[in-house]
């Protein structure tokens, strides 16, 4: 029974179905339980949250990754699956407290002051949540001081900063400096991204990493996370 429900979670991650109302992309899926309903059912059956993550969500995402590599899946498919995993993690998180299992880490993301563009940041958020991170999204056009305060209060392992405009990318440097001034710089890894920025720019402002796209951002976070864990 547990295996059946974990298999269904896997399949629905592959289909990117969050709720029963989602169509997925195969005929006849609509109306059947999606990932969130299945997670509730699994918890009701006392299936261990770690099991759900390992044998349902992660397995599903692995298959999605394989399909992406094989060019059967495209970025919208990856994002839909990641969104489903993110929604599942929201439900599972309280059940992980007090157990050995926990979300990989917390990351705050924001588009810096003066910049209203948030598509890239949103994609990164979805992918990070799908990869098992807890993401707090501050939004766009965010004051440097608000970001610093969020880092102080939330104590995230990572801070992701986004900008689309040449005129606003300089504000990323301001955030790095403000964190230094507040004595918080060593407490958080900073990753930046966005059309005008580059690896060189990241180094020049003292950021810890640069993601050229959504997947690049996840790779950088994963590598920093793994480096910290060893």
């Amino acid at each position: 029974m547990a295996e059946d429900i974990l298999k269904l979670i896997q399949e629905n991650v592959i289909q990117g179905r969050i709720t029963k109302d989602d169509e997925g992309f195969e005929e006849g899926m609509s109306g059947q339980p999606g990932v969130t309903e299945l997670i509730e059912m699994a918890l009701a059956q006392n299936i261990n949250a770690q099991d759900i993550i390992n044998n349902g969500l992660t397995k599903g995402m692995e298959i999605v990754g394989e399909k992406f590599e094989a060019k059967q899946y495209f970025i919208p498919d990856m994002l839909a699956s990641a969104q489903a995993v993110g929604a599942a993690m929201d439900i599972l998180e309280p059940h992980l407290a007090g157990t050995a299992a926990k979300a990989k880490g917390k990351i705050i993301v924001a588009t810096v002051k003066g910049d209203l563009h948030d598509i890239g940041k949103n994609i990164v958020s979805i992918l990070l949540r799908g990869a098992g991170y807890t993401v707090k999204d501050l939004g766009n056009d965010i004051d440097t001081s608000t970001i610093v305060e969020a880092v102080r209060e939330e104590k995230p392992q990572f801070l992701g900063l986004s900008a689309l405009l040449i005129s606003t990318m300089a504000n990323m440097a301001d955030v790095v400096q403000a964190l230094k001034d507040a004595g918080l710089r060593d407490k958080v890894k900073i990753i930046i991204g966005g059309a005008p920025v580059s690896e060189e720019f990241a180094k020049s402002i003292g950021a810890d990493g640069y993601g050229a796209d959504g997947f690049g951002a996840v790779r950088v976070v994963e590598s920093l996370f793994n480096a910290d864990a060893t």
Binding site: G16, F25, P76, I123
Partner: protein, 513 residues
């Protein structure tokens, strides 16, 4: 089910209705005065017998007649033409049905080039950094052969957007003569594509052999009438305003056999036609109508296409400039004139001035392919693979052309906007706006898999370097490796027994033994 082509719902019109009328009246004037010179006696007699004013203007070795055609004769002929022309195919799913008043476009190859362009790739190493290599295409021209024609028909059979086949290369093998060229070019084409085959004739003496070959393939005379798998293109009028002796003979005989035929005229603005648009249009329209009139006088109801291959002269050489913008303008005007008479139009696009595939050829052909398609000709002779006007054929270029025709066909798909779509979209917008991400990505997926999203350019590389040629070359070889549905063994055997002059090496069944 015949091929669908692509329906242009709101065709682009370059000239106004009033201008169409002005060109029509000017053409009627031209047909009366100065009229046409006919170097073909029979045509002159046919016109005379039907009420045209015919005067012998030269005698001796090169006799000719001045033919003045009254408007009522032209209008009566236009009236008697079939407004729907069916071009058959070996595979009945490839049949083309063209209606003179419906701007449904079919994309067809052609014309006949003398030169075949082989493609090879050389690897170059950067002097300062030997680890850096690039592959550069090299093009090698040579005379076309019947084997090349087979390859070209084979690839065009598999090119998705090609609706019909006009031979792309003149076969110049040592054992090809004027007496066996037609049967071999038709057989090579018909045996390697199941799509419609159109060609010109080199020798009138071969007409009946070619027709008989087609009858053997479809099962008889009546079957060929029902499914005319072959048709002909004739340039019986030489600009300005002259019926050519031999091609007009051929044209008359084709009409007598009732097979579909294109009445084609190819004036060059600046030399064989006036440089101004009004002038070339009035003249080409007169020339095509004169041919159509003759067709109906020979055999009422002969299925004809209004064939237009107008071109502007190059100012530097006075050669053809198919890549010029005016050439597309003239073609669009001709599409409108043909539609005015409700006769299906054979129009031209994609012919370029560039001699090798590259940026110039891409820009010239895509420009004219797009704008002329938008005007809604029925039969668009769109020059897959042609280069250097109509002198060179390159199979790699044909594969590249197919890619941009896929884009053009996608562009012309009907807009999926209706009450159902609006209702679904409003629901979607309300749902997404209420989410924190505010992204529509989830809704892409079913649309992406339903074919509603256009495919990326098939020869897109890593976006940092241009590998289009190498990728298209790979695709070309994939297509050549695909099987072709040849004419069956028994029919092939009958054809080789009955039709003289066929090259034994074209019999794939004998070759396999």
């Amino acid at each position: 089910m015949p091929r669908e082509g692509i329906l242009v719902r709101t065709p682009y019109e370059r000239i106004t209705d009033e201008q169409v009328q002005q060109i029509h009246h000017a053409s009627m004037e031209i047909l009366k005065d100065p009229g046409l010179i006919s170097f073909n006696k029979e045509a002159a007699e046919i016109f005379h017998g039907n009420g045209a004013d015919v005067t012998k203007v030269s005698s001796g070795d090169n006799p000719c007649w001045l033919v003045r055609i009254p408007e009522k004769l032209v209008l009566s002929a236009v009236d008697s033409t079939n407004k729907t022309v069916k071009l058959g195919a070996r595979n009945i799913e490839n049949i083309l049905v063209m209606k003179g008043d419906e701007p449904r476009v079919f994309f067809i190859t052609g014309s006949e080039t003398n030169t075949w362009l082989d493609v090879g790739f050389q690897t170059y190493v950067r002097k300062s950094e030997p680890a850096t290599e690039i592959r550069v295409p090299e093009f090698h021209p040579r005379r076309g052969t019947v084997a090349d024609l087979c390859k070209s028909a084979h690839v065009c059979e598999h090119l998705q957007t090609v609706d019909g086949y006009i031979r792309t290369v003149n076969i110049q093998d040592k054992d090809i003569t004027e007496d066996n060229k037609d049967v071999n070019k038709f057989f090579a084409s018909l045996n390697n594509t199941t799509k419609h085959v159109m060609s010109g004739l080199t020798s009138l003496k071969q007409l009946d052999n070619v027709v008989r070959m087609a009858e053997l393939i479809v099962g008889g005379k009546e079957q060929l009438k029902e499914n005319p798998i072959i048709s002909f293109i004739t340039c019986l009028v030489k600009s300005p305003l002259q019926f050519v002796e031999d091609t007009t003979d051929t044209f008359i005989e084709i009409c007598r056999r009732g097979l579909p035929v294109v009445v084609s005229s190819s004036p060059q603005a600046g030399t064989s036609a006036p440089i101004k648009e009004a002038g070339i249009m009035a003249q080409i329209n007169a020339e095509v109508l004169a041919g159509i009139t003759l067709s109906q006088m020979v055999n009422k109801g002969t299925p004809v296409l209004y064939g237009s291959v107008p071109v502007r002269a190059r100012m530097d050489t006075l050669g053809d400039s198919y890549g010029s913008v005016e050439t597309s303008q003239y073609n669009i005007d001709c599409v409108q004139m043909a539609r005015f008479y409700k006769i299906p139009n054979y129009s031209t696009s994609g012919v370029c001035d560039a001699k090798v595939p590259g940026q110039q050829s891409s820009i010239e052909r895509l420009f004219s392919d797009l704008v002329v398609t938008l005007s809604g000709p029925q039969f668009l002779h769109c020059a897959y693979g042609l280069l250097d006007c109509n002198a060179i054929f390159c199979l790699l270029q044909a594969v590249l052309d197919d890619a941009h025709f896929q884009m053009i066909k996608f562009l012309l798909k009907p807009a999926p906007i209706g009450e159902k779509e609006i209702a679904e979209t409003l629901k979607q917008i309300r749902e997404v706006v209420a989410t924190p991400d505010k992204m529509y990505i989830r809704y892409i997926r079913p649309v992406m898999r339903s074919g509603e999203i256009s495919s990326p350019y098939p020869f897109e590389g890593d976006l940092t370097s241009d590998n289009v040629f190498a990728m298209a070359y790979e695709r070309m070889n994939e297509l050549l490796a695909k099987p072709v549905e040849h004419i069956d063994s028994a029919t092939t055997s009958k054809i080789f027994q009955e039709i003289p002059g066929l090259l034994p090496r074209l019999n794939v069944y004998e070759e396999r033994r």
